[in-house]
Symmetry: C2
Subunit: 348 residues, 2 copies
Amino acid sequence: MRALTVIPGEPHSGSLTEVPEPLPGEGSLLVQTIAIGICGTDIEIVEGRYGSAPQGRKHLILGHESIGRVLDAPAGSGFAADDLVVGVVRRPDPVPCSYCAAGEWDMCRNGLYTERGIKGLDGYGAERFRLEPAFAVKVDDELGDLGVLIEPTSVVAKAWGHVDWIGRRSSAWSPESVLITGAGPIGLLAALMGRQRGLAVHIFDRVRSGPKPQLAQDLGASYHGGDLSAVAHLSPDIIIECTGATAVMADVMTRTAPSGIVCLAGVSSGGQPINLDLGDVNRRMVLENRVVFGSVNGNRAHYEAGAAALARADRTWLSRLITRLVPLAKWQQALTREPDDVKVIIEF
Amino acid sequence: MRALTVIPGEPHSGSLTEVPEPLPGEGSLLVQTIAIGICGTDIEIVEGRYGSAPQGRKHLILGHESIGRVLDAPAGSGFAADDLVVGVVRRPDPVPCSYCAAGEWDMCRNGLYTERGIKGLDGYGAERFRLEPAFAVKVDDELGDLGVLIEPTSVVAKAWGHVDWIGRRSSAWSPESVLITGAGPIGLLAALMGRQRGLAVHIFDRVRSGPKPQLAQDLGASYHGGDLSAVAHLSPDIIIECTGATAVMADVMTRTAPSGIVCLAGVSSGGQPINLDLGDVNRRMVLENRVVFGSVNGNRAHYEAGAAALARADRTWLSRLITRLVPLAKWQQALTREPDDVKVIIEF
């Protein structure tokens, strides 16, 4: 079968190659791949800046945002042939830490977790893959192939779940507004879940044209394009930072209303020193009870919460998040950013 | 009666002066002051860098860490003559925000709160003061004059309360260790509450001698004196930052174990730009689910939690936190830092 492989750490090593069929030991469900979604992490891996191959191997099969159809499922697995499924990305440590043992592998404390398509385990970017039922999430037929958005939505569902929890440190927490920085797929899906919570949603992104402003407007959100001065008048209760840009992070750390919460959901590269008045950041965080927290990945509960959020969303709006469909043979196009990209999908 | 007054914003304006007796409108409890504790905020106010006088007035009576004995209490107030009491510092907005209305004035969202001895209300640094019963906390006779530590302990009780709450965002949160940076009164009281939680407690402070190392040791905590390299080997679950120093803040933001929590409880001055690799901070916060939050002040519940923590503590150890007792006539000595100071008290 064909698979999209890469040699982690080696730039330009991505290729579409023949690989053996997945082994039964990789999971009792055999799944025919429909599509994979591409995100910034895939691009980092293809550029040789992230990722690791399975132990003892040189190549890694790429792809962690999945959608596929079950070809074969054992009786009693809870799955049957023709079910649409998505694979969970992260797996607990072989010797689980206390978090992994509790099913919260997204919070893993010892860093020994693995991730399909990213860290030590082959991904879903092959014509067929195998899944353990415990790491397979059933997709509603009505959502169909848009289920490929469940993995990024799981990331957002976790971020919102932690915002909700942390907010309840005060019995009077009753947020009215959220600012999302970055109108990529994570940002727009965070905005969707913000609207579903009944919040006033503001979206900031550096672009002023293309599909993003309209996607925001059709969600009932306010769109602010350009530089950070576009949001200088806002002091929302919540900020979900999805750009990973250090200048944006520096700005949002103290931009909320007092007692506000900032979730960092976008990953920066290191090696970006900036000059920051950390004394002022401290003073405003302390005197106004601000919280800044990072959030990565999701566990099974977050995939289910993400699937539920997508099921409640307008499917036409969701389908417009997918701005390019690239056939497998032209996979390289999917890994090159274009200005109007939101979510790019490789079709198998 | 004599009172310690200052003209906020005007350095060197502190003086011991005759002022009128407190007016009945300031509260139905009349209290004879036993002592006030001095903290960094008092020094900032006396240096003209913080604080505001009551509306329409030039002078502010200093003092927010109080202990006094009730002289007169109305029937049904819950208090009686001879009760030992401490006054709560912060008062809700005149037109309460949602937090103030819920009794969580420590989380006030609109900044219109007032604070006895700090912001818009006279403090407790007079021979007598008045208190509303709702803002008076009864002190156990066994704790006695050590009740002057209740106010700083309320700050610490809130910090710990928020750490506990935020930690429970994960069902597997089961912290084992805490690092306290700064062995002043707030740091040592935070260490006390860490020990009461059964945690391994590490205390960092730049000093290597004086009373702090022994106070830490007698609490069963590990003391690390010198520069930050002294704690470079630690990755605790929790950090409570009590120095307000930007170099320490920069260090601790990513020093916890993954999924760890940093509470900023020390206030910096602004205007301290440093060169910081914020990209690296972001990456480590996101990929390892770290939380950094600021915490200020306490509401009534935190005073009660603080009083309960002090009631469980060894009173000899607590009394050793008070390293200088200064008579009122020599109040200026109390507002000048000395190398071995932990808590300095002015006796009335």
